[in-house]
């Protein structure tokens, strides 16, 4: 047999370094068990519609009409579709050249980008430029594009929160850069410590790394914390002083479950700080149709907005976007609908509000149910989910459990999560997939299972956990600090 053209040894090393636990070992094991007939509750990824959340009616009506425009000519179309959906479909079709089947501008349809800019303007009170907004096949693609633009080699470091959503660590590995961690403080509600941030940067620089960018995820994933205006100001000053571009992952901006810290965009804070920082600090902000109360993950719709990025760099970013021709057009329409929603008086408005509120209020309740549920378990401590879609409880594994994990050749939290999966069918992602302080273990679950199933899920978890702790604790019990 001839030597294989591409074997494991000759693969790009960067690819081998990539880890993405969200669809890693636990997920693969859960899929195996599902095939064997076991009931699995997939809480490994923020995928609302996979767990029963219904799509909003109005956008689906509009996009269906756009996909099949011949329906618009049928006299009976009004029997199935309300007039405002019909009108909106015509509006979006008019923004295209040739309908949904044609490549759009590589940055996305100008008309939709205008709607996004108007949304940002209304949200923040500062005008936004559609020319600096690029629609992408999901926010992830946008993140990858920007990181690829920044990272020149392993000498380039990107500041990433720990714990983080592992798209960042994966992308940095893929592009051959260096991840510079800054630790969020669990005991301070996953707050950011500017001191720790400075130290991370100093350490990196002492190792010859040029720190180029800082990632913030607000609201946080997996941690859920919402940044205050003061926090954002600190971060912006810091990036300005250290000459970093700030990458603001704001995909969960509609998922806020407390009232003390409503969402405020990094751009709003930046522009509010006035010149010179408002004219110089480089910022890229990311958003999506996958989260919020829309949950349209499968459409792959997102955008990034650039602030203070020089025109020539924007041209280069455009050039790379043009190689992939264009983002998918149906998702662009979803994005337009998301940023340009129905208004009071529109035929479909009431139903839209009913559906949206229903989802958001339920998410808020589930955030509370889950946090309280975890906190009622032995050796489990859980910060409240202020935003996003996840719960990230700390599991205080007794020393004997850690030992058993080692013997099984598993990282301790992976060991715990596998046992949880086998016992209850709950598929989570071990905290090691997101990063955590040495010796501290977590798991990430979503708050997305249906509300009526939550009590049973939490009871099932508690039973497993408390029995696990019983099994692995010593006789005096593992004391809660």
């Amino acid at each position: 047999m001839a030597p294989r053209a591409l074997d494991y040894e000759s693969l790009n090393e960067n690819v081998k370094k990539v880890q993405y636990a969200v669809r890693g070992e636990l997920y693969l094991r859960a899929s195996e068990l599902q095939k064997e007939g076991k009931k699995i509750i997939f809480t490994n990824v923020g995928n609302p519609q996979a767990l029963g959340q219904k799509p909003l009616t109005f956008p689906r009506q509009v996009v269906a009409l756009c996909q099949a425009p011949f329906l618009l000519d049928d006299p009976n179309v009004g029997l199935l579709f309300p007039a405002d959906a019909i009108a909106r479909a015509k509006h979006y079709l008019s923004l295209t050249t040739g309908g949904l089947g044609a490549y759009s501008d590589s940055r996305g349809l100008p008309g939709v980008r205008k709607e996004v800019a108007e949304f940002i303007g209304r949200r923040d009170g500062h005008p936004s430029d559609p020319e600096l907004i690029f629609l992408t096949d999901g926010a992830s693609k946008g993140v990858m594009q920007i990181l690829n633009t920044i990272i020149r080699g392993e000498g380039d470091g990107i500041l990433v929160p720990v714990p983080q959503y592992p798209l960042y660590s994966a992308a940095i590995a893929l592009f051959g850069g260096s991840l510079v961690p800054y630790y969020l403080e669990e005991t301070a509600n996953w707050g950011l410590d500017i001191n720790d941030l400075r130290q991370s940067v100093s350490r990196a620089r002492a190792n010859g790394i040029t720190v180029r960018a800082m990632v913030i995820i607000n609201p946080g994933n997996p941690t859920g914390q919402c940044l205050s205006q003061a926090n954002l100001k600190e971060i912006l000053y810091f990036c300005y002083q250290e000459n970093l571009v700030l990458l603001g992952d704001e995909v969960y901006q509609q998922n806020i479950y407390q009232d003390e810290r409503p969402f405020i965009s990094a751009r709003k804070v930046l522009l509010g700080m006035g010149p010179p920082i408002s004219r110089e600090l480089q910022l890229v902000s990311f958003h999506t149709v996958s989260k919020g109360y829309w949950g349209e993950c499968g459409q792959r719709g997102g955008y990034f907005e650039m602030t203070n990025i020089p025109p020539k760099s924007v041209d280069e970013i455009y050039k790379v976007a043009s190689i992939s021709l264009s983002p998918n057009v149906p998702a662009q329409i979803f994005m337009g609908l998301m940023v340009n929603p129905l208004k009071p008086g529109d035929i479909s408005y009431d139903q839209f509000v009913l559906e949206s509120k229903g989802i958001l209020e339920s998410l808020r309740r589930r955030a509370r149910i889950m946090t309280d549920g975890f906190n009622s378990c032995r050796n489990v401590v859980c910060n409240f989910t202020e935003g996003a879609m996840y719960s990230f409880p700390q599991i205080r594994l007794p020393p004997r459990a850690i030992q058993a994990a080692k013997q099984a050749g598993k990282v301790p939290d992976v060991f715990y999560c596998l046992k949880l999966l086998e016992a209850t069918g709950i598929s989570t992602v071990p905290g090691s997939g997101f990063g955590q302080k040495e010796g501290v273990f977590h798991l990430r679950t979503t708050i997305l299972p249906a509300e009526e199933e939550m009590p049973e899920i939490m009871a099932s978890f508690k039973k497993f956990n408390d029995e696990f702790m019983e099994q692995y604790e010593d006789h005096r019990g593992y004391s809660r600090m």
């Binding site: 494991y8 199935l80 295209t96 040739g98 893929l174 400075r198 110089e280 021709l325």
Partner: protein
């Protein structure tokens, strides 16, 4: 966009001079504020913030980004967009009424209609709640409704808004595998299929896996579709060219391949893969079976991954040629999983369906070890999954209506109408180009393009030099300015040095073709009159 960019550049320059002064002022104001954590945790910085370039500027961004090029949406297109805007604001400001974009294989933007059945199914999958309403039956064909049900049953919870399996929905991959088997007569495994947002991301994925450094080379045809050159540049590899022979209808000589391979190796390049585009882009040739067999043998012998771009497999316009997938060829030669590593790319953007905007496609990956497959899966999983509509479309393209289905006849009528029209347009345009002085054009056996060679007079070449433009770009610019027709200079695809070409699509609707021909003819005559030696 470029005009706006220039204005912003001027603004930036103006504000730059204020930077230094402003930064010092900002610092002093910071230290006097009482932001507790900010102050107490550190002492004020010893020196002002770095005056070096910001993180995202031309001198600090990834040089590979700077290096890559993609002419299909390059400079000439930006100029065309500007002219289009000018026409809109000031009708009559140019010697033409409209811009005709013949630069990009984007059929539906030029009036090609989508296949009704496909759109019916997609619309129903987008809005499944109307499926059990009686009114739906009046608006949609029965087999579209049935197919939508079938597809939805393959999606857990019928949730088309959920992320799917990272390779794509299993049931859809089953349908695609069946379609591949029906096409080739050899089995296909759904686990070998990775559904992607168009074929392009799949190509990028493979380049990412294959290229470790600039010592890794990828064999590419010249001329080529510049996704390949761009992707290789982006991933830091080296493009190793093999020249297609214009004299023999863009044929490929294996002896030439060998020569280029040996030359690359002698320079210390490890050649990892060979890209073949069949039918060709921009060249339009359909490879002869014998040629394909030679390529398979070559890759097997030299240990190269065969990357087969087969996105134009349903665009064949000549009766004496047929599409054969490389997998079919390899399997017919008796070569299996252990003999050759092969990746085939397919897309929903071309063929007769032309669904570019949906971003649907897949790669079929065969002949790799399990641990490599795992890595491919891992990279796919970071993006979670490709868009569901694109996935559904890919399954429809590979599994269209069959004899006896309610929509079969109208589907065939639409399909054949589009394909025969494409064949006619290919022929008409080719003949028109060949009738022009100094232009020779190989026939378009397949794909969507013509790639005529222009034998430019010396005078024209000198004029181009004076304008600091490549001669083919000079010609294309003049063509645009005179006629509003946008084509892409051959240098965007690669060509034998000293030869000049341009790529023009065959996609304007048939009723526009006479106007295209006459405008082109008139322009060319004028150009030759001006520059004839």
């Amino acid at each position: 966009m470029r005009r706006f960019a220039a204005e912003r550049a001027r603004d930036l320059l103006r504000s730059h001079s204020l930077q230094r002064y402003s930064r010092r002022r900002l610092l002093s104001s910071l230290t006097s504020q009482s932001q507790s954590r900010f102050l107490s945790s550190t002492s004020p910085p010893d020196s002002p913030p770095s005056m070096g370039s910001q993180p995202v500027t031309l001198d600090t961004i990834n040089p590979k980004v700077l290096k890559c090029e993609y002419a299909v949406r390059g400079e000439i297109v930006s100029i065309a967009q500007r002219l289009q805007q000018e026409l809109k604001e000031n009708p009559g400001s140019h010697p033409f009424d409209e811009i005709l974009y013949c630069n990009i294989g984007n059929p539906q933007s030029l009036g090609q209609q989508p296949i009704t059945f496909f759109r019916e199914v997609i619309a129903l999958c987008d809005h499944p709640s109307i499926l059990d309403k009686s009114e739906t039956q009046g608006l949609f064909s029965a087999d579209a409704i049935e197919r939508a049900w079938q597809i939805l049953d393959q999606i857990p919870g019928r949730a088309t808004g959920a992320y799917s399996h990272s390779q794509g929905i299993k049931g859809l991959r089953d349908a695609i595998a069946d379609g591949i088997e029906a096409r080739d007569g050899f089995p296909a495994d759904p686990n070998d299929i990775f559904l992607t947002d168009g074929a392009s991301p799949a190509v990028h994925m493979m380049m990412q896996l294959l290229i470790r450094s600039e010592s890794d080379g990828i064999f590419c045809p010249i001329p080529q579709y510049p996704l390949y050159s761009a992707s290789i540049a982006l991933h830091g590899g080296t493009l190793v060219p093999y020249y297609l022979d214009e004299e023999t209808g863009w044929g490929l000589e294996v002896s030439d391949l060998q020569k280029q391979l040996d030359s690359a190796r002698s320079k210390g390049i490890t050649v990892r893969a060979l890209v073949v585009i069949n039918p060709g882009n921009p060249t339009g040739q359909v490879l002869a079976e014998e040629n394909q067999q030679q390529i398979v043998e070559f890759c097997k012998k030299e240990g190269l991954v065969l990357l087969a771009d087969e996105v134009y497999q349903e665009n064949i316009y000549v009766p004496d040629k047929q599409f054969h997938s490389f997998k079919k060829i390899a399997r017919s030669m008796g070569y299996g999983e252990n003999d050759i590593s092969l990746v085939s790319f397919q897309s929903v953007s071309k063929g007769y369906y032309g669904e570019c905007g949906k971003r649907g496609g897949y790669m079929e990956v065969t002949g790799f070890s399990a641990d490599v497959r795992e890595q491919i899966y891992k990279v796919a999983s970071v993006n979670l999954c490709s868009n569901i509509t694109g996935q559904i479309l890919a399954s429809l393209v590979m599994n269209p209506p069959k004899v006896g289905d309610e929509s079969y006849e109208s589907y065939c009528e639409e399909r054949d109408g589009i394909l025969s029209s494409l064949a006619r347009r290919a022929q008409t345009l080719e003949q028109a180009l060949n009738s022009l002085e100094g232009i020779t054009c190989n026939r378009a056996e397949g794909a969507m393009y013509l790639f005529p060679r222009i034998h430019l007079p010396q005078k024209a070449i000198k004029a181009a030099e004076a304008a600091k433009t490549a001669p083919d770009a000079f010609y294309c610019r003049r063509l645009l300015d005179a006629t509003g027709i946008v084509v892409v200079p051959g240098s965007g695809f690669g060509q034998v040095p000293g030869t000049w070409h341009f790529r023009c699509t065959i996609l304007p609707q048939e009723d526009k073709i006479p106007a295209v021909v006459s405008r082109l003819t008139e322009f060319h005559k004028g150009f030759m009159d001006e520059f004839r030696d």
